[in-house]
């Protein structure tokens, strides 16, 4: 027997729908609002101090005057160093895990270890770097030790994104290529990697931008608050934006608030611009692929 429909039941369903809808909008707003607030707040408070001199001069008076040029350069060196070490290892491991590794307990263990690598607290990576790179390998407190430490932390991301990007390439290409007597490696080199490249690059850039924002690990492996001059070799100590901000905010009495917000704004712009670059690259390649 059919249930009798009344106007009342329809309207009460509409109210429920409207309520649910409002709840969803509210949740989205709560998620987005802090980000917008932070950006606006920082631009309002920090933009006053930004000037050519601030961006191109070394600090003076324990950072209370002058600029933050060495910290910007140091952060770029760190990102570059992280990329140099984390990208090749990430891609090669990604290729191995997606194309060559058999599905057995060892592979599953490796995959699980990589996932867990991403969950290790960053200060633990710092201590690991201190023990291995600074002390055992005797790289000292240096740009090299810090790059390697951040690269270890970034590996979880570069391996995972490389593997996912490679797995997303249709299996039909592999079959078609093997079927004309092409080796597996040639197939990877000439078909699979070019197809997976946008995903791999996106992952690498995101890993870099995350490395740029890390404070805890570099604290113990080579970052310094004030270094005279720029690092001239990988074995030099260096300044970096997040560490500079941390020390300025926590350890320098009488530090002008505007400078702190200025440093934060520069750091935010660096990190966000790398994220935007990653998004841009992904969109560009996606358009090209659908031709």
């Amino acid at each position: 027997m059919k249930t009798k429909m009344t106007f009342r039941s329809i309207s009460s369903r509409k109210v429920t729908q409207r309520f649910a809808f409002s709840l969803l909008i509210l949740a989205t707003t709560i998620a987005v609002a802090p980000v917008i607030y932070i950006v606006i707040y920082m631009v309002l408070n920090g933009s006053g101090v930004i000037s050519i001199d601030f961006l191109t001069q070394p600090p003076s008076q324990a950072g209370k005057a002058g600029g933050i040029f060495p910290a910007i350069v140091g952060s770029f060196y760190l990102m570059l160093g992280t990329l140099i070490f984390a990208l090749p290892v990430g891609v090669l491991a990604g290729i191995y895990l997606s194309e060559y590794a058999r599905d057995n307990w060892l592979t599953r263990l490796i995959n699980m270890a990589i996932l867990n690598l991403a969950g290790v607290p960053s200060i633990v990576f710092g201590l690991f770097g201190l023990g291995l790179f600074v002390m055992t390998f005797k790289f000292g407190m240096s740009l090299l030790a810090a790059s390697l430490t951040l690269a270890c932390q970034a590996l979880a991301m570069t391996i995972t994104t490389s593997r996912e990007a490679i797995l997303a390439v249709p299996k039909e290409y592999l079959e078609g290529s093997l079927a004309v007597g092409v080796t597996r490696w040639q197939t990877i080199r000439h078909i699979i990697l070019p197809q997976a490249m946008p995903g791999i690059i996106t992952g690498a850039i995101l890993a870099m931008s995350r490395a740029a924002g890390e404070t805890a690990p570099i604290l113990v492996v080579g970052a310094a608050f004030i270094v005279p001059g720029l690092p001239s070799s990988p074995f030099d100590q260096f300044m970096a934006l997040p560490y500079h901000l941390y020390t300025a905010a926590a350890h320098v009495p009488g530090m002008p608030k505007t400078i702190m917000w200025g440093i934060a704004l520069v750091l935010l712009v660096v990190v966000l611009s790398f994220n935007l670059l990653a998004i841009f690259i992904r969109l560009r390649f996606r358009q090209r692929r659908t031709v």
Binding site: E172, Y173, L178, V180, G181, V182, H190, I191
Partner: protein, 271 residues
């Protein structure tokens, strides 16, 4: 060794050399047996059709000849599979070299995400052919052989994926021809195509059969009857393992099947 074959679309019977051969071949995926004791001879420069209901192991059988089943972990082959009398599951066989001699066209057209030209030149390039003029020649010749040249000669440098389905499949055939194989395996090559495109591929197959040994898996009875010289009928046994029920010249198999099951299948009583 030779065998007598009455070629399709002609009334003559010819002695053909045996190109491919399986002897009591069984195929396992882990503990599942996909094929049981298949013994079949496939003649050179003729078209052999493998027919049978879904899941009877036709594709698995086809993939024995270029060892494509090797890609599936847990796959294991028993018995003898040979090309020109050479056992291809022997330890000394280089699978890459084997696949150069035994090309394959797949059910779903799978051109690479690159230009028409690069699709065809892909194999030869990887096999070390570098000179531009030589590659140009191979590409044109292969596309002509695949009856695609006239349609794509003005868009050689456009993406192969922008072609129509039928053109894509002929591009895949050209890609295989470019590495000069002796055998072409076709795994339901027309099942994703419309009737017009299907007829084009069938014409193409007839032309290619003068120079190449072709083995085609098809679930389309009419296609098998139209295009093949020899036919083999596969079926599933109760444990789902595929067995060869009957094989012989296509005309005989279709007009005068010896086995009741073959007759039931080709007259459409099941499958």
């Amino acid at each position: 060794m030779t065998m007598k074959v009455a070629l399709a679309n002609s009334h003559s019977t010819r002695e053909l050399r045996i190109k491919l051969r399986t002897e009591k071949v069984s195929l396992f995926y882990g503990s599942f047996q996909a094929l049981r004791a298949i013994t079949l001879e496939i003649p050179e420069k003729a078209i052999t059709a493998i027919i049978g209901p879904s899941g009877c192991g036709k594709s698995s059988f086809l993939r024995l000849f270029n060892r494509m089943n090797d890609l599936i972990s847990g796959a294991r082959v028993e018995g003898l599979v040979s090309i020109d009398g050479i056992p291809i599951y022997d330890r000394t066989i280089d699978v890459v070299e084997l696949r150069k001699r035994v090309g394959m066209v797949f059910q779903k057209p799978n051109p690479f995400p690159m230009s028409v030209y690069e699709n065809v030149a892909f194999g030869p390039r990887r096999h070390g052919k570098k000179s531009r003029s030589e590659l140009d020649m191979i590409v044109e010749q292969s596309l002509r052989q695949a009856a695609l040249w006239d349609e794509v000669k003005d868009k050689l440098h456009q993406s192969g994926m922008a072609l129509s389905g039928g053109q894509q499949q002929r591009l895949c055939i050209a890609r295989v021809l470019a590495v000069e194989p002796e055998v072409i395996l076709m795994d339901e090559p027309c099942s994703a195509l419309d009737p017009v495109a299907t007829l084009k591929i069938e014409d193409l197959m007839r032309n290619l059969s003068h120079d190449y040994t072709i083995v085609i898996v098809t679930h389309n009875m009419q296609q098998a009857a139209r295009v093949s010289d020899m036919a083999a009928f596969f079926m599933m046994e109760e444990d789902r393992a595929g067995v060869l029920v009957e094989h012989g010249p296509t005309s005989e198999l279709f007009t005068n099947p010896k086995d009741k099951r073959t007759e039931d299948y080709i007259t459409g009583r099941f499958g």
